[in-house]
């Protein structure tokens, strides 16, 4: 086993140590201000080099691997859009059996799978559900930018109510997305997997801690990361981090963990900021009236209250 990682430099960063090694090489084709590329960069730092990654089709794959180039400094495999859960199942099972037969050294190689919100909550949901149910030892990361950004901002089941996309455009007869965002972390948790969490690249140490925890969890783990997308959300690349923070501070995307079914909020501001602050910074919500925004505010309030009930119920039963 190589011990390079231990020898590599790490730096003090906020309240933890982070390696200075970049496992996502520079020179990729992600858009300026892309939240997903930041998330991947941090996640890979948290995962280290003793890992195998399985990626779905999407921005991450397109932007990092135009032949003959690659940005991945870890073993990485992509096959299709819809099957990441199954491919990682094969990798994990193959790894285990080859280790047991002595053909691969037993050194705790981690399996991580990732995809966008479309690959996770739409087309790849069945494969992922199967992998959760079978209990494979892997971490799944959903990079949620709330639409099919790679193909040109088409709506997905993760697109929030009221957002305009190219296939759910705002118009005289429509507010844009007319459905609620699918609650993917709850779906993951419904499989009774040991670890589920939400994270944001705007909360770096929290994200890296959760990725590490997920990877070290025995059995399936799921981390859902909201990643602002300047191209699809229609905002400047310089406000990506600020938007990520506002998503948390408004309660639109709370940071929480579900460990063995128990909910825990990681950030619980005494007072939530109005959702308007978050919505107003993005072109995809430009068409919303004050009444629309009020409606969204009410939805967020209700969702947040429900989440807090689950947190309270979890701590009451401890």
């Amino acid at each position: 086993m190589k011990t390079q990682e231990a020898k590599r430099k790490s730096v003090k960063f906020a309240d933890g140590e982070v390696t200075t090694t970049e496992f996502l090489a520079e020179g990729h084709n992600f858009c300026t201000g892309c939240g997903e590329s930041l998330g991947i960069r941090m996640a890979l730092k948290a995962l280290g080099e003793n890992v195998i990654a399985v990626n779905a089709t999407g921005c991450a794959e397109v932007c990092t691997t135009p032949l003959p180039y690659t940005s991945w400094r870890i073993p990485w495999i992509h096959t299709l859009f819809e099957n990441v859960g199954a491919v990682v199942s094969g990798v994990e099972v193959g790894l285990k059996i080859l280790v047991s037969k002595g053909r691969i050294e037993d050194r705790g190689i981690k399996c991580v799978a990732m995809g966008g919100d479309g690959a996770t909550s739409d087309i790849g949901l069945q494969a992922l559900s199967g992998a959760f149910e079978r209990g494979h030892d892997f971490l799944y990361i959903c990079w949620d930018n709330e639409a099919y950004m790679n193909t040109g901002i088409q709506r997905s089941s993760a697109t929030p109510y009221g957002a305009a996309t190219t296939t759910a455009p705002a118009g005289k007869q429509s507010i844009g997305q007319i459905t609620r965002k699918k609650n993917m972390p709850a779906i993951a948790a419904a499989h009774d997997i040991p670890y589920v969490a939400t994270a944001s690249p705007s909360y770096r140490m929290d994200l890296m801690k959760k990725i590490k925890k997920g990877a070290e969890t025995e059995g399936p783990a799921y981390v859902h990361v909201l990643v602002p997308c300047p191209t699809g959300w229609r905002h400047g690349g310089e406000v990506t981090i600020e938007l990520g923070k506002l998503a948390v501070q408004t309660g639109i995307f709370p940071l929480y963990e579900i460990e063995n079914g128990r909910y825990k909020l990681n950030a619980d501001p005494p007072e939530l900021k109005p959702v308007k602050e978050y919505l107003k910074m993005q072109g995809r919500y430009r068409h919303l009236s004050d009444a629309d925004i009020e409606k969204i505010q009410a939805m967020v309030n209700a969702d947040y209250a429900r989440l807090k009930e689950k947190v309270a119920a979890s701590s009451a039963s401890s």
Binding site: E61, L67, G90, V91, G94, K96
Partner: protein, 389 residues
């Protein structure tokens, strides 16, 4: 030391996978393939086979998990049929394109609608262009032999392609037949351990399945086609080695009583055996007729086919599939393959045996008589049929 046993073809396949020491089996149940994964699951549960069995939630995931397992260097096996094969269609292209040598048995089944659990070759023909090496079996012995052989060929370092082994659903998959089961030592001698040269490995990080922009995609695809064509050498060599070790001879195109034949019948899979009975009867009555059977479907055996039909005036092709709007797919491929020959037989195509419809000896009799008539006098029908009302 081989022993003579009676085995259902599906169990012969499972036995072959066991003796090949597969590492990972990933399968989803579908009639008429079920006896294969069931038997393998049983072997794993009983400790007769040290492998991991992944009970996936669909055929799409069955093949996808195979990709992952093969990419880490595991010997990987699956089995499916008809609609299951089509459900994994998208994934089928990936295995050969990424040079991942999975072995898959297909218990050939018709496609919906109307839904039919019974056999024909519609499933094979819909995936013929996916880049897999594909062979057809006639009986249990071949089902065993060609499964062992499939691992040997697919995993060869110069090949690294997945291999599909076709056996007719029900008439073959569910039939118990006498066969020779070889000793483990002979299997080990023929089939070395799988050493995938490009495994997913943190010590040697590699990117698998990258994006192919227009300036590279065409070359990648041409390279794949060249590699598949070149796999022919290993295919033939492996059959030669197989004969050396096990004493049974295989060839891309099997010729049966073709000496001096004026008329040739072409069949594939288990129906070849029914056709042989009819050929014997007719030969005994002095008719100059023979049979050829395409065993290696991909890469297509042009040379062997051309050699096999030399001298014949008529070639009657029996298809168990309709390529809608075109006729029989085997017929059109065979006729195209012979087009450049200076002296080629008149080729007549028949479609029959769809969705489990039996094609007994007397139907083959009709097929031959009518085929000769059409070859000699022509017909205004686009497609001849046999056994269809």
């Amino acid at each position: 030391m081989s022993k003579r046993v009676a085995l259902e073809a599906s169990h012969a396949v499972a036995e072959a996978a066991r003796m090949a020491n597969v590492d990972v089996i990933s399968a989803y149940p579908i009639t008429p393939q079920t006896h294969i994964p069931e038997r393998l699951a049983e072997m794993v549960a009983d400790g007769e086979l040290n492998a991991a069995y992944i009970p996936v939630e669909s055929e799409h995931s069955a093949m996808s998990a195979c990709l992952g397992a093969a990419a880490i260097g595991a010997r990987t096996f699956t089995a499916t049929a008809g609609p299951g094969l089509e459900y994994m269609h998208n994934v089928l292209y990936v295995a050969p394109s990424m040079r991942l040598p999975v072995v898959m048995t297909v218990a050939n089944r018709a496609l919906s609608a109307p839904i039919s659990i019974w056999g024909d070759h519609s499933d094979v023909m819909a995936v013929r262009d996916t880049g897999w090496i594909q062979v057809f079996c006639q009986n249990s012995q071949e089902a065993f032999d060609l499964t062992i052989w499939a691992f040997r060929v697919g995993e060869d370092r110069s090949v690294l392609f997945p291999v599909m082994v076709h056996l007719d659903g029900f008439p073959l998959s569910h039939v118990v037949e006498p066969m020779f089961l070889p000793g483990q030592a002979d299997v080990d001698r023929f089939l070395p351990r799988f050493q995938y040269p490009y495994p997913l490995d943190p010590d040697r990080p590699m990117t698998h399945g990258a994006l192919g922009p227009p300036d590279i995609y065409s070359e990648a695809k041409l390279a794949q086609e060249m590699a598949l064509q070149e796999s022919r050498n290993v295919i033939l060599q492996a059959w030669k080695e197989f004969e050396d070790v096990f004493g049974r001879r295989y060839s891309p195109v099997e010729e049966y009583r073709t000496e001096g034949a004026e008329t040739l019948l072409l069949a594939m899979g288990s129906y070849t055996e029914t056709a042989k009975i009819v050929i014997d009867q007719r030969r005994d009555h002095g008719e100059a007729i023979g049979l050829i059977s395409i065993r290696l479907w991909r890469p297509f055996p042009y040379e062997e086919l051309r050699r096999a039909v030399k001298g014949a005036g008529r070639l009657i092709v029996f298809d168990r599939c309709i390529s809608f709007g075109m006729g029989g797919p085997v017929f059109s491929e065979v006729r195209s393959a012979l087009y450049d020959e200076d002296r080629r037989p008149k080729v007549v195509g028949f479609v029959g045996g769809l969705g489990g419809r039996d094609v007994p000896e007397k139907e083959f009799g009709y097929l031959i008589d009518r085929g000769k008539e059409v070859a000699d006098r022509g017909s205004d029908r686009m497609m001849e049929t046999v056994g269809i009302r």
